[in-house]
Structure formats: C-alpha cells, structure tokens
C-alpha cells in the first residue's frame, strides 16, 4: 500500500517541475491541478486503507547530522494525513475552476502553482515525519509554501500586509518550537518522537518549559486566542482555494503538533489541562463574537476558524485531564471529539471558503453589505453554503453535530468521574459551548441571509450566471461528505479508532464509549423520513389549494427598495454592543449640523482589541529601538569615544570579576 503513497509523492515531484516548462496559461493550470489531484487521490486511497485495516508501518534511515530519521505511519499521523489529503484534493479541483479568472487579468500563475504544490507536499510530510529536526525542516517548507501562495495578488497592499502577518507569526512559532525540541533533545539525547516518549524521567521544570513553549508554538500556528491575530489578516488576503486550504488544514498542523506533544509527554500536571480549557473557551466564544461583527465574508470565516480551533482545544483539554486522573474513557472521548472535529471542521470550512470564493468572483468584492439574492444567481453554491452553514453551527443532521455531541458527552462524563470543582467548571464549559452554538447560529443566519437570500442590495439584476463546473462539483461533493458523516457517524468513528489506540492510557478503553453515536443514524433517518412525509403532505395540499406569487407585505408602504432590507451590521449590532469590552466598535460618521445636509456617510467596523495590543507592542519595540539610533551618528569622534569607553568598561569589569 505504501507504493501508492510513493507514487503520489512522485507525481507531486513531477508537478514541481512542470510549471518551469510550460508557459502561463489555462492549460498549465488545468494540467498542474489535475496532476495534483491524481497524486492526492493515490495518497487518499493509501491513508484510507491504512486506517481501516490498521497496522503500524515505520521506515528508519540514518542521517549523520540528525541521527536516525523515522517516517512513521501511526494512527494519529494517518488520520491527519487523510484530512490533509482530502482537503488538498478539494482545493486542487476547486482551483481548476477558480484560477482562470486571475489568468484573464494577466496574473502569472506559474510561481503560484509551484508553491501550491510545495504546500500540499509539505503538509503531508509534516503529518508523517517522526524526527524533530526533519519535522522543523518540513514545517518551514509548509510555512514558505503557504506564504508565497497567500501573496498571489501581490499588487494589493492588504495582501502584502496579510502575508507579512503570516510570515512573522510562523517565524515566532518556529522559534518557540526550536526551544521545545532542543530541550527535549538535551534531556533524551535523540531527535525522534518515540525516544521522547520512551524517556519517562522528566523533571517538572523542564517538562513545564517544554510543554509551555510547545503549546505556545503550536498554539500560534493553530490560532488560539491571544495568538490568533495573524489569522483574520492572512486568510482574507489569500485567493479562495488557498484560504480554504489554510483554514481547513494548515492550522490543523498546529493541532497535530499539540496532539503529538500530548501523546509523547507524561501528563502529571492537571493545571495544563485546565489552562488549555480556559484558553480554548475564550478563543471559541470571542472568536465567534468577533466573527459576528465582521462585514468581509472571508474575515468572518477566518474568525470562525478561531472558534472551531477553540472547540478542538476543549476536546484536547478533557483528554489531558483524563490522562492526569488516569481515566481511559475520558482520554478516548476527548481525543475522539477533538480529532473528529478537526476532520469535520476541515470539510465544512473548506466548503464555506470555496463557496465564499464563488461569491467573491461574482460580487467582485468581499463586503457582504453590497450582496443579497445570490441564491437565484449561483444556486449550487447556495445549496453547498447552506449545508456548510448548518454543519458549522453543529446542527443535527450534519457532521458538526457529531463531534460537538462527543465533546458534550466528554464534558458530562468528566463531570461524573472527577471530583471537587471539576463538575462545576465542566458545566460552565458545556454552557459556554452552547452559548457559542447560539452565537454561531446568529452569525451564519446573518451571513447566509444577507448574502444569498432577499434581493441584491447593490441593485444588480438577479439573472442566473454559470458557476465554474469543477468548483460546483467540489462544493456538492464536500456537502454530501458533511451529510454522510453527519447521518452515519460510525464511519468516521472507525477512522479515529487507530489514533486512540496509541494514546497512553486509552488503549484499554471500554468499547461502549462510542455506543450512542454509533447508532445515531436510526434517529436521523427517522427525522429525515418525518420531513419527507410532511413535505409530501404540504405539496399535495398546496397542489389542491393552489399557489400564487405576490409582492412582499410592506405594511402598506408601496415604494420599498432593496436598500431597505436589513443590513448585516444592523442584524448583529445589538449582540456586538453587548460584547463591548472585548469588541471595540469604531464608528465614523459626522452628525447633522446644517439644516440642508449635503451628503452623509456612515462607516463602522469592529476593532480586534488583541490585534491592537500586538500592534501596540510592535510600535513599542519600534520606539524603543528608535531611541537607540544615535549610535551610528556619522561623526568619527563619537566612534573614537566608543573605542576608549569600551576599553575602560572592560577593564572595570576585569577588576570586578
């Protein structure tokens, strides 16, 4: 089976050479993406078969500077490999339909496709490499591939700014990972993850340092709250298929890192679990609250990624608590919930971003205030987006509900098994999750209602336009995947099984932990049957009583215009005002002075307090460094003074030490 994976990598390799040969053109775009898709299909078949009939495969070869390098396909790696390959396949196919619009505008696609392939290959390698040094090398390739894919439309200022945000965040993440892996290497003497796991005797101080830098480093990449700031700037800057890829799987590399750290390091301190729980809850609730206040469609979806990362973090923290208090069932529930939500989020977030890409192309811009009535213009995208919206809010028939259900179950089981303050805190976490579910419903009804329903606010005539063929196939494919996982959850549970086997303490879990979720399909099928029956009755009845179209009831006001529909900021204004301490709402408008006002404009946008915090830090560093700029004054006499001063200073130090 490994041959398929190698064939996949070989095809990717070919794809790295192809852009250099052919010229910029639609054929290059189609050829490259089809080649990528073929390679990913092979990889996908390999990882699916390896997961379903699971046996641990490992390849070991020696490199002088890095010691024994291990490429291992254990449960966790295979699951993430599956997720990465699935969404890269969707992104490549989507790119076929999406990129021609840019090629017509004269943007060169060769470099972009090269870095797109580099990103896909390095993502797959990140999941399977078990050696810390090679992991860092491949991690950096991923970062570079992602950066250069983001800055595709380099001529726009905010695209460059978004790319810069991404690059700085990734570098900070890499520096923290240096510390984490170096200290581990120092303690255990080798670079391999299984040696880190085998070495049991970590003294608390080094373990604390490793865990904090590891979680912080991977947390920056995943987008937990204090470090999420790059996400809403980088993802809108990227073209749709790249921002879909970034949101769906690139930030999941951070989650993979945290899961890997949790697997190999001993869990003695429960405080980390509670800390992660707190950070995840804050990320989730504030993430969705910020999303509610956004007007740009991609920025809204980016903030939503922060929310879903928070939900995954909740699952991971319960798993960590399970390991600390030696409860195998909690470990199984926590990790299953987290991993499943990673897969589910990857699918519906990819679906939503690709849908947003189609909307972006049609509306030539991201601002949802000027949209409306797109359901009649791009119906296939509308259906796909609706399925994505329902599953991201975690509503029943689709896959979001399955993973949130497992996380709820892990909360309640943890409340049973743990004592002291634990039940209370976990109940708060469950209520937080519910509160966030409500906010998500509000946010996505706003987004879907404003963008797809009603009439177009910019007054554009709503005639049906062709959607790119391949992108609609991808959208409907992902939507059907959401439905399948949602209605038949036991398929995805078998994918998570092998990964759970490896977590310390989770191997002898009782099999019934997944019992209710396994048989949920009967419930959902019954529910769908009920809907079908009632719909049939409705159609039959309305067939007899007849239907007719008329003007919407305007309470007697006859000259209603599309501009009078509810706007996005109006829809969310009240809720956003409630979050005022954390959500700063900047409003620019001039009050009426003269009797006959000439022209009035109103503009409001939501400021992210944490982003302002980081920008303040940046300005502080700039001011601090600026204060020291007198050193290179240009006058040679100052330089001579520096020489003599240095000699005197060192001599004084010599006397002291």
């Amino acid at each position: 089976m490994i041959a398929l994976f190698i064939i996949g990598l070989a095809l990717h390799g070919l794809n790295l050479i192809l852009p250099a040969l052919l010229r910029d053109s639609r054929h290059l775009n189609i050829a490259c993406n089809l080649l990528n898709a073929g390679a990913l299909l092979c990889g996908l078949i390999f990882s699916l078969s390896a997961l379903l009939v699971y046996q641990h495969i490992e390849y070991r070869f020696e490199v002088p500077s890095m010691g024994p390098v291990v490429i291992g396909f254990d449960g966790l790696s295979l699951f993430f490999l599956l997720t990465f390959q699935l969404l890269s396949l969707a992104a490549s196919l989507y790119a076929i339909g999406y990129l021609p619009h840019y090629i017509e505008r004269g943007l060169s696609v060769r470099g972009h496709l090269w870095f797109f392939t580099l990103l896909i290959v390095s993502l797959q390698l990140v999941a399977v490499v078990q050696n810390a040094l090679v992991f860092l090398v491949v991690w950096e390739f991923m970062a570079l591939g992602a950066y250069f894919s983001i800055v595709f439309e380099r001529d726009k200022e905010e695209v460059r700014r978004g790319g810069f945000w991404y690059l700085v965040a990734t570098h900070a993440c890499v520096l923290l990972l240096y510390v984490c892996f170096l200290v581990l290497h120092e303690v255990t003497g080798s670079w391999n993850f299984d040696d880190f796991a085998r070495h049991a005797a970590y003294d608390p101080k080094t373990l604390a340092l490793v865990l904090l830098t590891g979680f912080a480093g991977f947390g920056i990449k995943a987008g937990f709250m204090p470090f999420h700031v790059w996400l809403p700037n980088a993802h809108p800057a990227a073209p749709a298929h790249i921002s879909g890829l970034l949101s769906a799987i690139n930030i999941k590399a951070g989650i993979y890192g945290i899961a890997r750290l949790m697997m190999i390091l001993p869990a003695q301190e429960a405080a980390y679990g509670w800390g992660l729980l707190a950070v995840s809850l804050i990320s989730a609730v504030l993430g969705v609250w910020y999303a509610l206040a956004q007007h740009d469609i991609k920025k809204l979806l980016a903030y939503h990624s922060v929310e879903n990362i928070g939900i995954i973090g909740l699952g991971l923290s319960v798993a960590w608590l399970g390991r600390c208090y030696a409860r195998p069932e909690l470990v199984a529930l926590g990790f299953a919930g987290a991993l499943l939500h990673t897969l589910n989020h990857a699918i519906f977030k990819g679906l939503l971003f690709f849908g947003a890409g189609n909307v972006y192309l049609h509306a030539h811009g991201g601002n949802i205030e000027k949209m409306g009535g797109f359901a009649r213009v791009i119906p296939l995208t509308a259906v796909g987006f609706l399925v994505g919206a329902i599953s991201i809010c975690g509503l029943p028939p689709f896959n979001g509900f399955v993973s949130e259900f497992i996380i709820y179950k892990s909360f309640f089981r943890a409340a049973d098994l743990l004592h002291g303050y634990a039940p209370l805190l976990l109940l708060f976490a469950a209520v937080g999750l519910a509160f966030m579910g409500g906010l998500a419903v509000a946010c996505f009804t706003k987004l879907y209602g404003i963008v797809f329903l009603g009439q177009n606010r910019a007054g554009v005539a709503a005639r049906r336009q062709g959607e790119p063929g391949s992108s609609s196939i991808v959208l409907l494919g992902l939507a059907s995947l959401c439905a399948i996982i949602g209605i038949f959850p036991d398929t995805s549970l078998r994918l998570v099984g092998p990964a759970l086997g490896e977590f310390a303490g989770a191997d002898q879990t009782p099999t019934e932990w997944a019992s209710p979720i396994g048989q949920l399909q009967i419930v959902f099928l019954l529910f769908l049957a009920l809907i079908a029956v009632i719909y049939a009755v409705k159609v039959w009845l309305q067939g007899r009583t007849g239907m007719r179209l008329a003007e919407t009831w305007g309470c007697g006001y006859t000259a209603a215009t599309p501009r009078m529909q509810y706007t996005a900021s109006g829809f969310a204004a009240e809720l956003v005002q409630l979050g005022r301490p954390m959500l700063a709402f900047a409003v620019q408008w001039t009050p009426l002075q003269s009797v006959l006002p000439v022209g009035r404009a109103f503009h409001s946008h939501c400021l992210d307090r944490m982003e302002n915090g980081w920008l303040l830090l940046n300005r502080g560093i700039g001011r601090l460094l600026g204060a020291l700029r007198w050193i290179q004054s240009g006058d040679i006499r100052h330089y001579v003074v520096y020489v003599f001063a240095a000699v005197v200073f060192y001599l004084l130090c010599a006397l002291v030490w």
């Binding site: 329902i390 949130e404 529909q565 509810y566």
Partner: protein, 308 residues
C-alpha cells in the same frame, strides 16, 4: 444505546401530545379573556384556525426562494421530533444517553430555518424579527443547558427519559433545586414561545413583534405548520417544567397523568395572569432578563454542589 420504544402506548401519548398542543394555547387565550373580563373565543378556536388555513391558498413572495418553501416543514419537524424525546408517563418514543443535547440542537435547527425564512422575503420587518430572534436565542440556550445540564450532572443520567425519574421529593434541598429549575424554565418559555414579558403574542404593530413578524409572509398550509409548531413548542417547554416535579415517578402512571395535566393548567394560568397584568419589556432589557434567568441557574447549581 438508541431505544425506539416498542410500547405502542408511548407513540399514542405522542400523538395525543401533538393533538393537544393547540388546546393549551386555546386555554391560555380563554383564561386571558376571562381575567380581563371578556368572554373570549372558545377553547377550540386554534383548531378552527388550523383547519381554515389548511384550506386557504398559499401566497409566496416574488423574492422568496426554495428556503421559504422548505422552512415551515423543517420548523415543524424539529419541534415534533423533539417532542418524541419526552417521557410522558410511558418511556419516551426515542431515547439514548445524551439526547438532551439532541433536544436543544433540534430546536436550534428549527430556529435557524425560521430566521432564514424571515430573511428570504427581503422585507425589513421580517429582518428585524429575525435579528431579535437570533439575539434572544443566544441567551436562551444557556438557561436550558444550566437547568437540564445541572439536573443531568446531579442525577448522573443523560437521557430525558431517565432524568426526571430520578427526582425525589423527600430531600428538602432537592425540592429547592427543582423549584428554581422550574422558575428558570419559565424564563425560557417567555423567551422561546413569545409570551408576554419578552414578546406580545397578539400585537398588530409589526415593529414590536419578534416571533409573529417572522411568519408575516407565510400563508396557507405554511402558516398552519408555523402556528402548530409554535403551540407545540409552548407545550414542550411547559411539559419540561411539569416533568421537573416528576408526577409520574411519585404518583404512578394514572394519578400522575392527572397531576401532570393539573400542573400544565397551573402553568397556563400563571402565563395568562402575567400577560394580563404586565406590559412587554423594552427590547434592550430582554438580554438582562434572560441573563437573570441564567444567574439563578448558576446560583442553583453552585449551592446544590457545595451544600452536599
């Protein structure tokens, strides 16, 4: 394990439940009329309404899309399926550990489609109603999760079917816990089912409505579905409140049913009294009102866990 109850009687009670929903609304309207000195419509008036609507012609707005056609069916089905989960004396039609989460999220699904249907007809009034509904739902969810969630944690059971069976009266502290639970459920009823303190059910000024304005453009059989779903949801929440007192557990199935119906009527009377005596809250105060409900829930569970 997912249990579809084999006992025909539980399915029968569910059918009775669906049929009886409009009756409760009728009773509340009758009581309100009596309290304000009017004779008021007959108790069966809602049934006549439903029959009339089922026969009328359906009118769709020009700007409405497929959402307006699908939404009423989904709204009704979610509430109906949620009703299947409730144990009315007999074991619940459908039950599995963790179905309180399914119960909450089904109602959220119904709300999702109702809001979308409101936004579909491109009218500013319906948009206003949708925005208010989305806003208050955000604060209603925590109340439900606090009451039922704390009950689940306290009784260590996670299926609606078995939670209420574990409630026993002879533990005085437990009684306080349950009564506060009923009180916070009452807050939920006023927010979810458009009862007086939060929303005025029979106002005609579109600007003040929340729930009625969302179905402004519904007509014919769609409107029938919406209205039946609304009354079904009212019955649903009142049953939850009634079951908190665990009538079937304490008095057995027969007498329990009588006590259950009596509590329902008491709740209906309370609702009617409030609607005649109070005016509607200003919209700005409603989140505060609901947060107050949540605060009671938090206090309740904190006192209960620390007192043991």
């Amino acid at each position: 394990m997912v249990k579809l109850s084999s006992d025909p009687l539980s399915w029968l009670t569910c059918a009775l439940f669906f049929a009886g929903a409009p009756l409760l609304t009728g009773i509340i309207n009758k009581l309100k009329a009596r309290l304000s000195g009017r004779f008021g419509p007959t108790v069966w008036q809602p049934y006549y309404e439903l029959r009339r609507l089922a026969r009328k012609e359906t009118v769709y707005s020009t700007s409405a899309g497929f959402i307006s056609r699908v939404a009423p069916v989904l709204v009704w089905c979610t509430v109906a399926f949620a009703a299947l989960l409730l144990p009315l004396g007999r074991p619940a039609a459908v039950s599995f550990p963790g179905d309180i989460i399914l119960f909450a999220y089904l109602l959220a699904l119904g709300r999702f489609f109702q809001i979308l249907a409101a936004l579909d007809v491109a009218s500013s009034f319906e948009g206003m109603g949708a925005s208010r509904e989305a806003r208050f739902a955000v604060f209603a969810e925590p109340i439900f999760f606090f009451t039922i969630g704390s009950l689940a944690i306290v009784t260590r059971r996670y299926s609606l079917d078995t939670i209420f069976a574990a409630i026993s009266w002879h533990d005085p502290l437990f009684f306080v816990f349950v009564s506060v639970g009923v009180l916070s459920l009452f807050f939920l009823v006023s927010a979810e089912c458009s009862r007086m303190p939060v929303d005025d059910p029979n106002t005609h000024l579109e600007l003040t409505m929340i729930h009625e304005v969302m179905i402004l453009d519904a007509s014919g059989f769609d409107l029938a579905l919406y209205q039946h779903a609304a009354s079904l949801k009212l019955l649903l929440y009142s049953t939850l409140a009634a079951l908190m007192l665990n009538p079937f557990g304490v008095f057995g199935p027969a007498v329990g049913a009588l006590v259950f119906v009596a509590t329902l009527l008491a709740l209906a009377a309370a609702l009617a009294a409030i609607e005649t005596l109070m005016a509607r809250f200003r919209l700005v105060l409603v989140p505060q009102f609901l947060l107050f409900g949540t605060a009671i829930g938090i206090l309740n569970i904190v006192i209960f866990t620390f007192s043991r």
